[in-house]
Amino acid sequence: MDALIAQLQRQFRDYTISLYQQGFLDDQFTELKKLQDDGSPDFVAEVLTLFFEDCVKLISNMARALDKTTGTVDFSQVGASVHQLKGSSSSVGAKRVKALCVSFKEYCEAKNYEGCVRCLQQVDIEYKALKTKLQDMFNLEKQIIQAGGRVPQVDIN
């Protein structure tokens, strides 16, 4: 059983490091993990759930605001949702999503419709990709625990 645990822990460590190296996550995710402890064992999962729910809601707001069929586009409305998403993605360490929001915000301020539409599509793809990656990471954690092991603390540096 120990060999299995060790293997799973190695997999988990490698996978986590790859998420940072590929730019999916940044330091703020590490900060987030610091807030989880025996008193709040599911904190990271809870926050990420909230974040992904936010993504769905805000992206739908942005799409509606960018819908030309309903009239002229209200870029400040789009910008308001982008601003919120930028904040929450920054707080969870969702590096790529946050970077996209920075560009998106600039397009909003410039009232650049094509730019905004492009960013909207990309943000949608990015948050879904991150969600999949994090689900895989959580599954590895579960497997480690089910095998009787402890989830190792991964040192990114």
Binding site: Q28, E31, E46, S76
Partner: protein, 224 residues
């Protein structure tokens, strides 16, 4: 971290975003503070026991029935909120005889030097850039200790004394200072800020100081 006092510090956290409230609540709990979260400035004032007159938002009175039973050692508030901003809340607290001694900390996702100066001048103890980290919260203890000690010694500490003693708390060896441009330049752009409080000047956003401690006012320096 530090000496565990018998009663925890109680912090009132104000933020209109559910997500941010969850984050700051956990950060504060992890720093051994008791936390109460509210989603608006007016709810914060209600919690404190300040009656907000709906007809005249500038009028403020302490409700005679509500004696402040809950002792709040610190208020931490988001800057950008609909209705009453964090700055408005700060002003109301500092204008109130009953509550002006409560230290107030402002949080914002945007690094706008004029905003920061305005808040600090109005009496905010610290200005934190979001996302707030655990390390940031260690700066709160000295401010909260002051209010506890004050109550324990039963000697009223003049506000002037607190202001004068602030620089001692700062780290003198910090070389990175938040760049502050001449106030009149920045005030113009501040007034043009839309409700969203988003900063339109890209140049400003590039100046991100990693040092979140309060800039020194005796010399306003521009560091490049």
């Amino acid at each position: 971290m530090g000496v565990e006092t018998e009663s925890k510090f109680h912090v009132l956290a104000v933020d209109d975003s559910l997500f941010d409230r969850k984050m700051i609540e956990r950060l504060l709990q992890k720093s051994s503070c008791q936390v109460t979260t509210v989603d608006s400035g007016s709810k914060a004032l209600e919690f404190l026991g300040l009656r907000v007159d709906d007809n005249d938002p500038n009028a403020l009175s302490t409700s005679p029935q509500i004696h402040q039973e809950v002792e709040i050692n610190l208020i931490i508030t988001d800057y950008c909120m609909p209705g009453m901003t964090g700055y408005d809340l700060l002003k109301k607290v500092k204008e109130s005889a009953a509550f002006r001694s409560i230290p107030v900390v402002i949080m914002s996702s945007e690094n706008v030097p004029a905003r920061i100066s305005r808040c600090l001048e109005e009496g905010a103890e610290e200005f934190f850039l979001k996302p707030v980290k655990l390390a940031d919260l260690t700066k709160l203890k000295p401010h909260m200790m002051k209010t506890k000690l004050k109550k324990e010694s039963e000697k009223p500490v003049a506000i002037e004394e607190i202001v004068v003693s602030k620089p001692e708390i700062e780290k003198e060896e910090d070389s990175s200072v938040i760049e502050i441009l001449p106030l009149h330049q920045e005030l113009e752009s501040e007034q043009l800020e839309p409700m969203l409080c988003s900063n339109k000047r890209k140049a400003m956003e590039e100046v991100i100081s990693t040092d979140r401690s309060r800039p020194k006012y005796n010399d306003i320096t521009t560091s490049v």
